[in-house]
């Protein structure tokens, strides 16, 4: 099993979810994060003082999938989350040693 962790723009969650749903993937976990990278931060102004804010809101989506689906899922997400502008985000892939479904105690690919 493999964990696919993607970080992308908040406005793209609906699209990514739809794309995954069409592919038959419904299980996922979402976290609100902030991130920086190449993307330029933004300037905020409070009482005449300027602040440069470079940690910007992003969405982190985690999906654990069977190894065979990894490439396709990565492609799907990459397509759905892309705008072509700097700041689109990343997809990281990690090995997963095992999974357990709490409700049933099932383990392995059965659990996801």
């Amino acid at each position: 099993m493999t964990k696919i962790e993607c970080i992308f723009r908040p406005g793209k969650l609906e699209d990514v979810k739809d794309a995954l749903g069409k592919f038959g993937i419904h299980g996922m976990t979402v976290t609100q994060v902030i991130g920086c990278g190449l993307q330029k931060g933004r300037t905020e102004v409070y009482r005449g003082a300027e602040y440069s804010i470079n940690l910007l809101p992003k969405i982190k989506l985690e999906i654990v999938v069977g190894d065979k689906d990894v490439d396709q899922v990565v492609n799907l997400i990459a397509q759905a989350a892309r705008t072509g502008e700097i700041g689109d985000g990343k997809i990281f892939i990690y090995p997963v040693a095992n999974a357990t479904r709490i409700r049933t105690g099932e383990t392995g690919e059965m659990a996801i």
């Binding site: 609906e14 809101p57 969405i59």
Partner: protein, 443 residues
């Protein structure tokens, strides 16, 4: 009729109206996030429900022509005969309707206070039934006893300037009874139930303080020296109540807390309410001082010792503070402040304390008994309490289908699917929608 007095009562009525949203926020900040709407909703819907009830039949039950010293009759049903002219029995210088609407706001807030005891576990339909019955069968008679012409406590000479018995004892006791009947919240005593938004609670408390000027000073029903005196002692008792709770908690637990300060302020306000038109500033200092201490003890020690879950301490603050205030009126009342009042024990009239005690005891008993009966009646029709599963999920979602802060955790319009009805779907022209273009102005 006097334009100054009419202005005074109308604006006071508006201030007292604002107290109920104040209670909503005061309580709303104290519950967990998943129940914030449910408690605010309870307070808000009480404004609506009791407003209608009062116009239709509540007012005549409370203030209509006396029936056996216990209740008003139905001659003013639907405000029949309650017009733009004064009713000198109640207030000679303002329209009768102004008195009526001012009193309405008291009926509202009294019921709203109870919600703090029901918080985080009562089903909404049962709540609606309970409040309607409680207002009709507890508040309206009590108001008649104490303030209605012919009411037996009024005839006995009980002093209750702005509602120590009628408002605070009645809500405090009924809240306690309801909390016992409903039972403790799931996890009470093993999980922490922390206030989810204390600035909201402070905002609510200060709106309460603000509105309380209308509540207590307005109860003079004319804008003069008495109203001014009531205004001033109200502020004084609130201030010292906050300080005394603060320092008591500071000594007891080592921290001067914000929640303690506002709670003490409310305790001071509660305690001065029955006395506001009868006592001077030094008595107000004493009344507030004691209120802060004993309400703290009731909330911080008595409650855990007895183990009931009066969620937001309606009993500890309104029941205990109101009882103290009603008795303190029998101690500190002085005809030097209000010649239409009476002297209390410390001004040479021990009998007044006795009368006050009768008022207190009869309110305790009446509110307890009737609240039990009403809850029993409601429980026959519909379940009082949400299921354990619903309690876990929170009342906002399960009772009202809403989320208090839908966007807050998610930070962007994400995480939800929009179930477009067929109607919507068919009426949308996709292209215009996604391009964000509207009606073109140029063609």
């Amino acid at each position: 009729m006097d334009t100054g007095d009419t202005t005074f009562i109308l604006i006071s009525a508006a201030l007292v109206m604002l107290m109920t949203p104040g209670v909503a926020l005061f309580y709303g900040g104290m519950v967990r996030k998943k129940n914030v709407l449910s408690i605010i909703m309870q307070c808000f819907i009480i404004i609506c429900l009791v407003s209608v009830q009062w116009v239709l039949f509540g007012y005549t039950l409370s203030f209509g022509p006396d029936q056996g010293h216990l209740i008003g009759d139905l001659s003013w049903i639907g405000l029949n005969g309650v017009g733009q002219q004064p009713n000198p029995n109640y207030a000679a210088t303002i329209p009768h309707q102004a008195f009526m609407v001012f009193q309405l706001m008291f009926a509202i807030i009294t019921a709203a206070l109870i919600t703090g005891s029901l918080a985080e576990r009562m089903r909404f339909p049962a709540f609606l039934g309970f409040i309607l019955l409680w207002s009709t069968f507890v508040y309206d008679p009590l108001a008649h006893w104490v303030w209605g012409v012919g009411g037996w406590l009024r005839e006995l000479g009980a002093l209750d300037f702005a509602g120590g018995t009628v408002v605070h004892i009645s809500s405090g006791i009924s809240g306690l009874v309801a909390a016992l009947v409903l039972g403790r919240r799931k996890g009470y005593g093993s999980e922490p139930f922390l206030p989810h938004h204390l600035p909201m609670t402070v905002l609510g408390a200060t709106l309460l303080w603000f509105g309380w000027f209308g509540f207590n000073a307005g109860s003079a029903l004319t804008a003069g020296g008495l109203a001014t005196s009531a205004f001033m002692v109200t502020n004084t008792a609130a201030a010292i109540g906050a300080l005394s709770w603060l320092f008591t908690e500071w000594m007891h637990r080592g921290k001067p807390t914000m929640l303690g300060a506002v709670s003490g302020g409310v305790a001071g306000l509660v305690a001065i309410t029955p006395a506001a038109g009868f006592v001077g500033p030094m008595a107000a200092l004493l009344i507030g001082l004691v209120a802060g201490v004993i309400c703290y003890l009731a909330v911080g020690i008595l409650k855990s010792r007895l183990g009931y879950d009066d969620s937001l301490d309606v009993f500890g603050i309104h029941g205990v503070g109101g009882t103290w205030g009603a008795l303190a009126t029998g101690l500190f009342a002085s005809t030097a402040v209000n010649s239409a009042g009476a002297n209390g024990l410390f001004f040479g009239n021990p009998g007044q304390l006795w009368i006050q005690l009768i008022g207190v005891i009869s309110t305790w008993i009446f509110a307890t008994a009737l609240t039990l009966v009403i809850l029993k009646a409601v429980s026959v029709v519909t379940a009082l309490r949400v299921s354990a599963e619903e309690e876990e999920q929170g009342l906002d979602i399960t009772q009202h289908g809403e989320d208090g802060y839908a966007d807050l955790v998610i930070g962007a319009p994400v995480g939800h699917d929009f179930l477009r009805g067929e109607i919507i779907a068919s009426s949308f022209k996709k292209p215009a929608e996604s391009s964000g273009k509207g009606v073109s102005l140029s063609d």
